[in-house]
Amino acid sequence: MVKLFAISVIRRPTEDPVGGRCVTLKASFDLASFGFFQRASVQEFLSFSSTTIVERTGLATRQSVKEQEYLCHVYVRGDGLGAVLVSDADYPPRVAHTLLTKVLDDVSSKVEWKMANAESLKNYKEIDIVLARYQDPKQADALTKIQAELDETKIIMHNTIEAVLERGEKLDDLVAKSDNLSAQSKMFYKTAKKTNSCCNF
């Protein structure tokens, strides 16, 4: 299935290139394909993974992270404005990165993002439109100008989310420490981890 799950725009501090508090300015989700009772946790995890990855992406860098059957595409611009797009494995990565550029161009042209927070961007609806419209990647054919630029940019590929983390960091620890995940989501994470692993006794 070709599907987009989430797009979020995140501000990353420029002074402290490694780590630092990231602020999610705007996020949009399409969780219709998940079970009703899982949606809240899935959404929390998508936000959590998005921020985690942006925190570990350098300025002016593009990355694509594969985790199970999901792909997480990140683009952080030189000025610290970043965007994350989570899609399934079939969604063309090229189109995904094109969309990231488009979203960031749009945000920076329409919004005072340097001072903004999630509250002040409440009325900015552009991302929801992008998420709905580009579920069909053919729609992106019109964005050829961005695609041409993209071909000259290097995209770093990672095969797991663990590969993005810094030395000594573990995803389990990050999940356990996080304040943004509810107890139920953490429980979901544990269960999913157990059932997804091949043999556990």
């Binding site: 899982q38 059957e69 079939d90 006794f201």
Partner: protein, 441 residues
């Protein structure tokens, strides 16, 4: 992100009483000890019976429940583990209660089944009825017992749809005599497939239901335009939930063939059904690029389209079919360009191409022969153009190199395969540049 898989691969509660191994493991040690002591401890039977009644109450309150799930939560407050969101028609159980509920319903269900076989008196001596909560063997009439068996089997198939016995009980005791009953049963199967989209037993039961409905004239040929789309819609949920869901797709094929081979259904109706399926999968094909089961269905669908010839219009059918196949190849080419490196797309191309060429060879009567060779020549030209386009992509786009290379490899295999298969049609593709290969044709 890891958690999203939980619904598809949540532990299977197999093998009767040893159910929920993984589920149990998840419980604390203390809890699993309680579980093994279950049969001796009627306190837990009461608890399970209470949960069981809550589930039944939810079904009674809300007939339209369309999603069931088991959610892993830690139980802290003393409240019912049955989560029912009536406004959205969703039902869920907290994971900790599942072992209790399953063991209890399974045992009670066995008792009900056993009674069916033995006489009442021998039964009372063989089981201790007080063990299973409100289930008192002595004051149970025959119909009460069947009703209890039905609600028990409903809970059982929800928790573990692989228990054939529970489905069989429903086969024996649910008379499919009215549209309302049929609808309720179909809804139950759909509900089961929201948590276990790949469960074969559910689809087998669904087939049985449709057969019964045909037999009892509940699904009439005249109203096929009404019930067929509903049935297809309900089958699309498990298809979307589980990637390459073989059981769902083969059920869909079964249903289609049942309609096409039914003598009582007029030909126009069959053509309408076929057409609606082609349109339906058309939209689906746009978003699914690696679901080979779906591609196989599509392939068979096109084959059925070829075989079902309307009366008195064999020439227009012939042209229409060739146009349809060309359109299919066009769509496929666009997808291969956009979604690089998906083998199932290439396999689908092979299948379509083979079907088209064989069709042309079989229907090559003398007067059409000329036009056929033109069509084949045209096909080879287009195919060469397409192949060269894909191959020439090999040395651009640094960022998606891996996928592009994969795509080129699939393309080369495709070229070799077609050249070998279609040699009798004068079919010769080359993997060189388009311009240089022009001279070869």
């Amino acid at each position: 992100m890891a958690l999203a898989k939980a619904s598809n691969r949540s532990p299977r509660l197999t093998e009767g009483l040893n159910q929920g191994d993984a589920e149990e493991r998840r419980c604390s040690k203390k809890k699993s000890k309680i579980c093994t002591d279950f049969s001796e401890n009627s306190e837990y039977a009461d608890l399970a019976e209470k949960v069981f009644q809550d589930v039944n109450a939810a079904f009674e309150r809300d007939e339209l429940i369309d999603e069931f799930d088991i959610v892993p939560v830690e139980s802290k407050a003393n409240h019912s583990p049955v989560l029912h969101v009536a406004s959205e028609h969703k039902l869920a159980l907290e994971a900790w209660c599942v072992p209790y509920l399953f063991t209890h319903s399974y045992k009670s269900f066995l008792a009900v089944r056993r009674k069916q076989k033995c006489s009442l008196s021998s039964l009372i001596s063989s089981t201790n009825p007080s063990k299973y909560g409100s289930f008192k063997a002595s004051n149970f009439s025959e119909s009460d017992r069947i009703n209890r068996g039905l609600v028990l089997s409903r809970t059982l198939v929800l928790l573990n749809p692989d228990i054939t016995m529970a489905w069989n009980f429903r086969r024996d005791f649910v008379p499919i005599v009215s549209p309302a009953i049929l609808e309720a049963e179909l809804r139950l199967v759909s509900l089961v497939s929201t948590r276990k989209p790949k469960c074969p037993e559910g689809f087998v039961y669904r087939r049985w239901l449709i057969n019964q409905a045909f037999k009892n004239h509940l699904l009439l040929p005249e109203t096929i335009g009404e019930w067929f789309p509903i049935e297809v819609k309900s089958i699309e949920i498990p298809i979307l939930k589980y990637f390459s869901n073989y059981h769902a797709w083969s059920y869909r094929m079964w249903l289609l063939q049942k309609i096409l081979y039914d003598q009582g259904i007029p030909l126009e109706q069959k053509l309408l059904v076929l057409e609606s399926e082609v349109n339906c999968t058309d939209a689906w094909m746009n978003t699914q690029v690696s679901d080979y089961c779906g591609h196989h269905y599509r392939h068979k669908l096109l084959h059925l389209l070829q075989l079902t010839v309307p009366e008195n219009s064999s020439t227009t059918h012939h042209e229409k079919f060739i146009a349809r196949m060309k359109k299919e190849l066009d769509q496929n080419a666009k997808q291969i360009e956009l979604y690089e490196g998906h083998e199932s797309l290439w396999c689908h191309r092979r299948a379509v191409m083979k079907m088209l060429l064989e069709y042309l060879a079989d229907n090559g009567s003398d007067e059409c022969n000329n036009s056929h060779s033109v069509i084949i020549k045209d096909l080879v030209y287009n195919e060469q153009k397409f192949v060269s386009l894909i191959i020439s992509d090999d040395n651009v786009a640094e960022n998606s190199k891996e996928r592009t290379t994969l795509n080129c490899n699939h393309c080369r295999k495709y070229v070799a395969w077609t050249n070998a298969q279609f040699s009798k049609f004068n079919w010769q593709l080359s993997t060189n540049d388009f311009n240089s290969s022009q001279s070869c044709i």
